[in-house]
């Protein structure tokens, strides 16, 4: 063998190792310079590329807005907030690794980030082991309460259960469950089934489709055969577009068969096509149309930066997360994780969705549940609300019918 196999291998490992070395050296300097100066570093970790970027970029924008607002008022503890933005690339392991980078290399005071359950689950051990703080801004499936995560989106008893209460009030007794095949829909449907059992409702069908699925005629046929009173929809992303187009194509609309969606916010309505979803109910804690001066200011500030953009629930929850963290830091007088956690317990803040309070026991927030109806202009109008903030109960301990769900 004349061909030296090993020589190219040298080039292989030398090059990146050299690059990494260079990088490493430089990063060490940076980290030391950053942590001691007169700024406070925070991490922002969302998918800026890949399938989830559509949604997550908007949250990054609202978090950035909150940081700008705080900095305009002098920052926290007299120091400006310096965001370090990382891309989770819609890939869960990347989230874990980037979280590690933010904590270990950038030594950030806290991280705001994540959207999918999977990304949160991937980051969770990183934050717990390193005793670092994550603020997670999206409604999720509950059954979790990490001491190092603050959950500013709704848990199930602040979104799913109120939506069911609404259906119950409207006299809907026969439900059909449609969801994308992943954790949130499966957990949500488990809760819905338990609720239905306790409240004399019937579940006529439960169907899951792969993420990114675009063929819904069979599913729509199954629904029309089952003849439910209402559909509970936990589909995700592009599947919603295909589902609603084909649902409408088969002759269904909100008057004939309401479809309660928990993943469609103002952002998504445009892509689905307003005429396909107009009149359909959705369940969230915040809408762009939510009344109040705080929201008016938020919407105005956001749209000043992003022309023609809408504001949605997760964006607002991300915006709140930054403000809540800043308030806790001020209260604690330090960015130290344990001190911030302690100060955050019971902390209240006026936000676009109204007054929210952090529940120290599980680090979720009290939120008002709101059912909205999609308007022909693409915005969502509130038609029902829980009147006052609901105490977060991620394990549904206060619901007797839910016993056994979280065991």
């Amino acid at each position: 063998m004349r061909k030296p196999f090993l020589r190219p291998l040298a080039a292989v490992l030398l090059l990146p190792a050299a690059l990494l070395t260079a990088c490493g050296g430089e990063s060490k300097d940076k980290a030391e310079a950053g942590s001691g100066g007169n700024t406070v570093k925070v991490g922002i970790l969302h998918s800026l590329s890949g399938t989830m970027s559509i949604s997550e970029v908007t949250v990054r924008n609202s978090e950035q807005l909150a940081i700008d607002e705080i900095n305009a008022k002098g920052g926290v503890l007299g120091k400006k907030i310096e965001p370090v933005v990382e891309d989770g690339a819609s890939d869960w392991p990347t989230f874990a690794q980037k979280a590690q980078k933010l904590i270990k290399k950038d030594k950030v005071a806290t991280v705001f980030g994540g959207w999918t359950s999977a990304s949160r689950k991937a980051m969770l051990p990183v934050f717990e082991r390193n005793k670092a703080l994550l603020w997670y801004p999206v409604q999720y499936e509950g059954l979790e309460s990490s001491p190092y995560i603050f959950y500013t989106g709704a848990t199930t008893n602040q979104q799913i259960i109120p939506a069911l209460d609404y259906f119950k009030e409207k006299g809907k007794k026969k439900l059909f469950l449609v969801g994308s095949d992943y954790v949130f829909p499966r957990t949500a449907n488990k809760i819905i089934k338990a609720y239905a059992k306790a409240n004399g409702m019937q579940i006529l069908g439960e169907e899951y489709t792969p993420l990114g699925n675009t063929e819904y005629s069979t599913l729509v046929n199954k629904i029309s055969q089952a003849k439910p009173d209402a559909v509970f929809n936990t589909l995700n992303g592009d599947s919603n577009v295909a589902f609603f187009k084909q649902f409408k194509g088969a002759g269904f609309d909100a008057a004939k068969l309401p479809v309660m969606s928990v993943s469609i916010a103002e952002e998504e309505v445009k892509g689905i096509g307003v005429d396909n979803v107009a009149g359909q109910p959705v369940a969230w804690n915040y809408y762009e149309t939510t009344p109040g001066a705080t929201n008016a200011a938020f919407v105005k500030a956001f749209q000043a930066k992003h022309k023609g953009a809408v504001t949605s629930d997760p964006m607002e929850a991300g915006y709140n997360a930054v403000h809540l963290w800043a308030a806790a830091v001020e209260k604690a007088g330090s960015t130290d994780v344990e001190a911030v956690k302690k100060a955050a317990a019971g902390l209240s803040l006026e936000t676009p969705e109204g007054k929210v309070t952090i529940d120290g026991a599980n680090q979720h927030v009290y939120k008002t549940a709101r059912i909205g109806v999609i308007q022909p202009d693409g915005l969502i109008k509130e038609v029902w609300s829980s009147k006052e903030p609901i105490k977060p109960d991620p394990y549904l301990k206060s619901y007797p019918w839910a016993a056994g769900l979280s065991s």
């Binding site: 399938t51 970027s53 559509i54 970029v57 095949d181 169907e207 899951y208 489709t209 792969p210 990114g212 699925n213 675009t214 063929e215 005629s217 069979t218 599913l219 046929n221 199954k222 029309s224 055969q225 592009d238 577009v241 295909a242 187009k245 084909q246 409408k248 194509g249 088969a250 002759g251 952002e267 998504e268 445009k270 892509g271 689905i272 096509g273 307003v274 005429d275």
Partner: protein, 292 residues
């Protein structure tokens, strides 16, 4: 029994979608052996063409867009053939990877031009109704897609079998060297083949706006299915593609009806692998005596 009967037209309409997205591949993959991973992005180009025309043509954009999308996607395909693919004939695996690179670039370009979120294409008002068939309803949009698929098949068949250009194309496919010696300008034929194959993807893209999302990643949703149709149907076989598409559509429809959507996809894959055990070259094979 009735719900089961409903699945028949549904299966047919899924088959029509599969056929529409795979038809272009019977040209590029079938006739030329080029695995064009950017095929999905040509579909996307067709969808965005409909979106762009909307502001001018309004509700009829979908109809106006059909020929325009054919031209736009076809031009993209032609460009791809001229700039890159033609250097790769005889190296199908390399083309596969090359065109995948192209597909990445096109996706990101769409994201930068049209934005990452899905956009809305409004269907013409006369396509919003439905007919009742076998106790279930079949939306006009689905009927339209079936009709379009049928029209494309007839068009392609006529082109391949009745026109001089088409006969040349088939000659080049069956024996490139011989065709070249017989005075067929194989380079021209290749360009045309690629143009038509990609153009058909554009037509499919327009049709898909009626039932699916319109966004930068839609190509990735269809590409694997499209190739499976061609693999099951047999290389370059129009007949095979039609039968395979309808069969897979039916299989999908009934498998999903009895199980669920996730399992249906797995079942389709298993059936195809099993099928290839019986017919490794797909449904229809052009027999030849050549070694390799």
């Amino acid at each position: 029994m009735e719900p089961l009967l409903n699945q028949l037209p549904i299966g047919l309409s899924i088959g029509a979608v599969l056929l529409l997205i795979a038809l272009g591949l019977t040209f590029t993959f079938g006739q030329m052996g080029v695995i064009n991973m950017a095929h999905g992005e040509f579909i996307m180009a067709g969808s965005y063409t409909a979106y762009m025309l909307q502001s001018r043509a309004g509700g009829e954009a979908v109809i106006v867009a059909l020929p325009v999308a054919f031209a736009v996607a076809g031009a993209l395909g032609w460009l791809l053939e001229r700039l890159a693919v033609r250097h790769f004939y005889g190296r199908p695996l390399d083309t596969l990877l090359l065109t995948w690179g192209v597909s990445l670039v096109l996706q990101q370009a769409a994201r930068d031009i049209f934005g990452a979120p899905n956009v809305q294409v409004v269907a013409p008002s006369w396509l919003t109704g439905r007919v009742t068939l076998l106790g279930g309803s079949l939306p006009y949009a689905r009927l339209f897609i079936m009709g379009l698929a049928a029209a494309c098949v007839v068009g392609v068949w006529a082109y391949l079998n009745r026109s001089r250009q088409g006969r040349r194309m088939r000659a080049v496919m069956q024996n490139r060297e011989l065709a070249a010696v017989s005075g067929v300008a194989t380079g021209r034929v290749d360009q045309l083949t690629f143009f038509i194959g990609s153009g058909l993807a554009g037509v499919a893209g327009v049709a898909l706006t009626l039932i699916g999302p319109v966004g930068p990643s839609i190509g990735t949703y269809y590409i694997v299915d499209a190739f499976l149709v061609v693999v099951a149907g047999g290389l370059g076989q129009l007949r095979g593609a039609v039968i395979a598409a309808v069969a897979l559509g039916m299989l999908n429809s009934f498998a999903e009806f009895w199980t669920d959507a996730s399992l249906a996809k797995v079942i389709v894959f298993v059936v195809i692998v099993a099928f290839l055990q019986v017919r490794p070259q797909g449904l229809f094979v052009l027999r030849s005596r050549r070694l390799t």
